[in-house]
C-alpha cells in the first residue's frame, strides 16, 4: 500500500532547477533509497518530503492526505541529518527528549521513551553525557535515537553515514537496517554511495540532474539499467560503442564495434531501441567477461592482449585491449596471465545490454 507519494514535484533555486518533475511512491514498511551523485537533487527531494523546502509545483501526499504545504513540525516525520544537528547546549537525554517535550508528553513517559530509544541504539546510560564528548559514531546513534523517539510516521535519512569511517559505516549500516525493520518503520534514505544503497534499501530511485532515471529493486537496477547514465553510475561497466548492422526485423541483432571493428551478436528484446546505422551502446559488467587462453568456439569471442593488472584483494581487475577496444574484466583468480599475454575474451550474448545515449 502506498504511504508516501510524490507527484510531479519540481523545485528551482534561482532559476537553476534542482528537482524536475519527480514522481515516487513509497510503500508502507519499505526502506526506500534516493541514490545519485552529489548535486543531483536527492537532498532537496528529501527536504521537500520533510517540509523544509516547498516544491514550486507538484504535490506530496502522505497516507492519502495532501501535505505539500504542511509545515515540518506538523508532519511528525523523524529526520537524521548528515551532520547529525545535535543541539550542542543540551545533553544526550535532552536531545532525545526534545521532540517528546514539544509534544507535551508527561514526564514519566518521556523518561521511559528516551531510555528505550537509547537502548535501541545501544547507548544505554549515556543520558547525562554532553554531545560534544561523544565520538562520531555515538553522535550518529543519538541522532537516530532522537528521530525514532517521537515514533515517527516516516523516517528520513540524509546521508547519515557519510561522516563515519569505512568500518564503522558498514557496521552501523547493518544495525540501522535491523532497527528500522524491528520497529516496522517506513524510511527514505538519501545517499551517493551505491553499495550503501544496495545493502540497505528495498527499492531505489536513481537520480541525476534533478530527475529520476530509474526506480527499482537493487538487483534490477544493477542488471537491467534502462539508460546509459544509470549503467555508468551503478558499478563498473564496459560500455562499447556500436552500430547496428542487422535489419530491425531480425530477432538476433548484429552490431559492429566502432573501436576494434568487431562483430557482436545478441538477442533483441525491443526492436525500436536500436535503429540501423545509428550509434548506440552495448553494456557488459566486468565480472561477466570470460577470459580464456585458447579460442573457444562460441559467439562473441574476441582476441585480446592483457594491458594491466589491478590487484584488489578478493578480486583482480584485468584491463584488456582487443584491437583498440578497451575492456575491463573482473576475476577471482588471474590464472597466471601476465601483462602482454595474448588471450581470448568472450562476451556472452545474454549478458550484453543494448542502451541508447
Amino acid at each position: 500500500m502506498t504511504l508516501l507519494s510524490l507527484k510531479n514535484i519540481s523545485r528551482r533555486f534561482d532559476s537553476t532547477p534542482a528537482v524536475a518533475d519527480v514522481s515516487v511512491d513509497v510503500e508502507r514498511g519499505e526502506f526506500f533509497g534516493l541514490l545519485g551523485p552529489s548535486g543531483c537533487g536527492k537532498t532537496t527531494t528529501l527536504r521537500m518530503i520533510a517540509g523544509l523546502e516547498t516544491p514550486d509545483s507538484g504535490t506530496i501526499e502522505f497516507d492519502s492526505n495532501d501535505i505539500t504545504n504542511l509545515s515540518p513540525e506538523r508532519r511528525g516525520f523523524g529526520m537524521v541529518f548528515q551532520n547529525y544537528a545535535l543541539f550542542p547546549h543540551l545533553n544526550v537525554f535532552e536531545n532525545v527528549a526534545f521532540g517528546l517535550r514539544a509534544r507535551h508528553k508527561p514526564r514519566a513517559q518521556i523518561t521511559q521513551q528516551v531510555t528505550s530509544a537509547l537502548e535501541l541504539v545501544q547507548l544505554p546510560n549515556y543520558e547525562k553525557r554532553r554531545v560534544d564528548e561523544l565520538s562520531g559514531g555515538q553522535q550518529q546513534r543519538v541522532a537516530i535515537a532522537r528521530a525514532i523517539a517521537i515514533e515517527p510516521a516516516l523516517l528520513l535519512f540524509d546521508e547519515p553515514l557519510s561522516n563515519l569511517d569505512v568500518t564503522l559505516r558498514e557496521e552501523t549500516r547493518g544495525e540501522l537496517r535491523e532497527l528500522v525493520n524491528r520497529l516496522g518503520l517506513t524510511a527514505v534514505y538519501v545517499t551517493h554511495d551505491q553499495e550503501e544503497a544496495f545493502a540497505l534499501c528495498d527499492r531505489i530511485s536513481v537520480m541525476m540532474s534533478g530527475r529520476i532515471l530509474q526506480t527499482g529493486k537493487p538487483r534490477e537496477l544493477y542488471e537491467h539499467p534502462v539508460q546509459l547514465s544509470v549503467a555508468r553510475f551503478l558499478g563498473r561497466n564496459n560500455l562499447i560503442r556500436v552500430v547496428r548492422l542487422s535489419s530491425s526485423k531480425s530477432a538476433v541483432g548484429e552490431f559492429k564495434t566502432l573501436e576494434g571493428d568487431h562483430k557482436l551478436h545478441l538477442p533483441i528484446r525491443n526492436d525500436d531501441l536500436a535503429p540501423m546505422n545509428k550509434p548506440c551502446f552495448l553494456a557488459i559488467r566486468p565480472e561477466h567477461l570470460l577470459i580464456t587462453r585458447t579460442n573457444v568456439r562460441s559467439e562473441n569471442v574476441l582476441p585480446a592482449r592483457v594491458r594491466e593488472f589491478n590487484f584488489a584483494g578478493a578480486t583482480t581487475s584485468i584491463k584488456l585491449d582487443a584491437n583498440g577496444l578497451q575492456l575491463e574484466s573482473l576475476v577471482l583468480e588471474p590464472d597466471s596471465l601476465a601483462i602482454g599475454d595474448s588471450c581470448f575474451v568472450t562476451l556472452p550474448p545474454e549478458r550484453l545490454l543494448l542502451l541508447n545515449e
Binding site: 533555486f13 534542482a18 552529489s38 548535486g39 537532498t43 532537496t44 527536504r47 520533510a50 517540509g51 523544509l52 523546502e53 516547498t54 509545515s71 515540518p72 513540525e73 506538523r74 508532519r75 511528525g76 516525520f77 523523524g78 529526520m79 541529518f81 548528515q82 551532520n83 544537528a85 545535535l86 543541539f87 550542542p88 547546549h89 526534545f98 521532540g99 514539544a102 509534544r103 532522537r146 528521530a147 517521537i150 528520513l156 546521508e159
Partner: protein
C-alpha cells in the same frame, strides 16, 4: 551538501507580521524620516525647492576649508593607523613571546575608551601644561612649555592612538581566518616568504584591511571631542556644524550635515561591499590552524618584550595620568611636574553631591534602556534577515540598520533635532526634543547596529540544520527560538549588548547637542568641569566611567568565552 536557501521553517503568520511591523516602525521613525527631513530642509528655502543653501555654503571659504580639512585629517589618520595596526596584528597573530596575550588584550584598549575621556587624558598627559611637557620643561629649564598640544600633529596623534585598533582587530581576525595550509602550499610551490606575504596572505587580507580603512575613515570624519578640545585652528566639518548651530545658523548647519553624511554613507556603501567579499576567506576554513612562530633568539625575544612593554606603557600612560590627576587637589597644582598634593575630595564630591552623582544615574539608566531595546530589536531584525525574502530586500534592511552607525553622532543628533524638535507628521503634537527620552533614543539609534551585528553574527554561526531538526521534531517557532536559537545565540548577543551599553555610557557628541537638565549624562558633566578648570573632578568622572566600562567588558569577555 548544503543549499544556500532560507528554509521554510515557518512562523505562524502573526509573529512574522509583528516583527515586520516593529522593524518597519523603528526604521521609519529613527532612520528614514529624520534623515529625509534634513535633506529636504536643506534643499528648501521658504518652502521653495532650491540649491541656494548649498551654493551659499560652498561659497564660504570656511565651509570649503572644513570639508577639505576633514578629508585630509581622515586620510592621514587612515594611513597612520594602518602603519601602526597592521604590523601589530602580524606581530601578535604570528609570533609568540612572553606576555603576548597581555599585550594583545591591551592593544585593543583604546576601542572602549570613551573619546571624550581619552581626549581629557591626552590633555593631562601631553597638553601644554600636561605632565610630559612639564617634565621636559623642567628638565631642560625652559621658560615656556616645549610644545602646545594644538593643531594637526595633536589631532593625528590622538586619532592614531584611538583608532589604530580597527586595523589591529580586523587584520588580526583576518589573519586568524586564513588557512595556514595556503601559505604552506605557496612555500611548497617555491615562493619565498616575502612572495607568500604579498601573493598569498595580503590578497586574502585585503577585505579586512579595506574594511578597517573605511571604519577608520568614518570614525575620523565623525571625530568631534578631539578637534573641539585641541584642534586649535584645524576646523573640521563636525565642529563647523556644531558652531553653526550654536550661532543659530540652522540652515547652514543642516546643509553641512548633509555634506558630512554623504561622505559617511559613501564609505558605508563601500564597507558593505567589502564585507560581502570577506566570505571567500571564511570559505576556505577547513584546514589546519596556524601555529604561532616562537621567537627563539634571546636578543629578539628581549627586543620583542621591550617593544611590548614600551608599547603597553604608551597605551596605558594616558589612562594612568587620568587616574593620577583624579586624586590631585584642584588649585594646588600650578608649576610642579606632578601634582603636589593628593586627596579623595574629587571622588567624594562627585559621588555624594546630588547634582554630581545624578549624572551617573542618568547615564546608566539611559544606556541600559537603549541597550536593552537594541537587544530586543536586534532579534527582530536578525530573524527577518534570516527568513525568506529577496536578497535586494535584505540588503536594503541591513543598509538601513547600519546608517545611524555610519552617520557621525553630530549628524544623528541634528537630524533628530530637526525632525522631532517641532510637532511632526509622525508624532503629531508630541515634541521629543527637550524630554528625558531624547537621549535614550539617540543612544539606541547610534549603537543598535553593534547589537544587530553581534546577534546576526551569532545567528550565522548557528547551523541551520539545528533549527530544522527542532522543526522536524515537532517544535513550533516559539519553542525553536526559546530552546534552540536563544541558548546558542545568547552569549554573543549579550556581549554585543554590553558593548553598546558601554559605548553609550560615555557618549558625548550627540548628547552635547540634545541634552536637557533632566538627563544630563556623565560626558556633559566632564566637559563642564573641564570648562570650570576643575581638572581633578573631570578626571575623577572619567576614572569612575572607565571603572564601570572595565567591569562591563570583563563580563562581556566571559560571555564570549562561554560561547566558544
Amino acid at each position: 551538501m548544503s543549499y544556500n536557501t532560507s528554509s521554510r521553517l515557518s512562523f505562524t503568520r502573526s509573529p512574522r507580521l509583528f516583527l515586520f511591523l516593529i522593524t518597519g516602525v523603528v526604521l521609519l521613525y529613527g532612520v528614514i524620516y529624520p534623515n529625509l527631513e534634513v535633506v529636504v530642509t536643506s534643499l528648501q528655502r521658504d518652502h521653495q525647492w532650491t540649491l541656494a543653501n548649498y551654493r551659499e555654503a560652498l561659497s564660504q571659504s570656511a565651509v570649503l576649508e572644513s570639508v577639505l580639512t576633514s578629508l585630509g585629517v581622515s586620510t592621514l589618520t587612515v594611513l597612520f593607523c594602518a602603519l601602526v595596526g597592521i604590523p601589530l596584528a602580524f606581530l601578535f597573530e604570528r609570533y609568540s613571546f612572553p606576555a603576548r596575550r597581555l599585550f594583545a588584550v591591551l592593544a585593543a584598549l583604546p576601542l572602549v575608551l570613551p573619546p571624550l575621556v581619552g581626549t581629557v587624558a591626552f590633555i593631562f598627559l601631553c597638553g601644554e601644561s600636561g605632565i610630559l611637557s612639564r617634565l621636559v620643561q623642567s628638565a631642560l629649564r625652559l621658560e615656556t612649555p616645549p610644545w602646545s598640544l594644538r593643531g594637526w600633529t595633536a589631532l593625528l596623534l590622538f586619532h592614531t592612538y584611538t583608532m589604530y585598533p580597527f586595523f589591529y582587530v580586523l587584520t588580526g581576525a583576518g589573519l586568524r581566518r586564513i588557512d595556514a595550509g595556503l601559505a604552506e602550499a605557496g612555500r611548497s610551490l617555491g615562493a619565498g616568504s616575502v612572495q607568500v606575504l604579498f601573493r598569498v596572505v595580503l590578497p586574502q587580507l585585503t577585505p579586512s584591511i579595506v574594511a578597517a580603512g573605511l571604519l577608520t575613515f568614518m570614525t575620523s570624519m565623525a571625530s568631534f571631542s578631539a578637534p573641539l578640545l585641541f584642534g586649535g585652528s584645524v576646523r573640521v566639518l563636525t565642529l563647523e556644524i556644531f558652531t553653526a548651530r550654536q550661532r543659530g545658523d540652522l540652515e547652514l548647519a543642516l546643509t553641512e550635515t548633509v555634506i558630512l553624511a554623504a561622505f559617511s554613507l559613501g564609505a558605508l556603501i563601500f564597507f558593505q561591499r567589502y564585507e560581502g567579499t570577506r566570505r571567500f576567506a571564511a570559505a576556505a576554513m577547513k584546514g589546519t590552524g596556524r601555529r604561532l612562530k616562537p621567537i627563539t633568539s634571546g636578543k629578539a625575544r628581549a627586543a620583542a618584550v621591550v617593544c611590548g612593554v614600551l608599547f603597553a606603557t604608551l597605551l596605558v600612560l594616558p589612562v594612568a595620568t587620568l587616574i593620577l590627576v583624579s586624586f590631585a587637589q584642584d588649585g594646588r597644582w600650578t608649576t610642579q611636574t606632578l601634582p603636589p598634593a593628593y586627596t579623595l575630595a574629587n571622588y567624594a564630591r562627585i559621588l555624594t553631591e546630588k547634582d554630581a552623582s545624578e549624572v551617573f544615574v542618568n547615564s546608566l539608566s539611559m544606556s541600559a534602556i537603549a541597550a536593552l531595546a537594541a537587544l530586543l530589536w536586534s532579534f527582530c531584525v536578525a530573524t527577518l534577515a534570516r527568513g525568506k525574502g529577496s536578497r535586494v530586500w535584505k540588503r536594503l534592511l541591513s543598509l538601513l540598520v547600519l546608517v545611524p552607525w555610519a552617520l557621525p553622532g553630530t549628524v544623528v543628533a541634528v537630524a533628530l533635532a530637526e525632525a522631532y524638535g517641532k510637532p511632526s507628521p509622525l508624532l503629531r503634537s508630541y515634541v521629543l526634543i527637550g524630554t528625558f527620552w531624547i537621549l535614550p533614543v539617540v543612544y539606541f539609534l547610534r549603537f543598535m547596529p553593534l547589537v544587530v551585528r553581534a546577534v546576526q553574527a551569532s545567528m550565522e554561526q548557528l547551523d541551520p540544520a539545528l533549527e530544522e531538526a527542532a522543526g522536524s521534531l515537532g517544535a513550533r517557532w516559539w519553542r525553536r527560538f526559546r530552546r534552540v536559537t536563544l541558548p546558542l545565540v545568547w552569549p554573543g548577543a549579550a556581549a554585543g549588548t554590553l558593548l553598546a551599553f558601554v559605548i553609550a555610557l560615555g557618549e558625548y557628541v550627540a548628547s552635547v547637542l540634545l541634552f536637557v537638565p533632566s538627563n544630563r549624562p556623565v560626558s556633559i558633566a566632564i566637559a563642564s568641569e573641564l570648562r570650570d578648570f576643575n581638572l581633578g573632578a573631570a578626571a575623577a568622572y572619567g576614572v569612575v566611567l572607565m571603572g564601570i566600562i572595565a567591569v562591563s567588558m570583563i563580563v562581556a569577555a566571559r560571555f564570549e568565552r562561554w560561547r566558544s
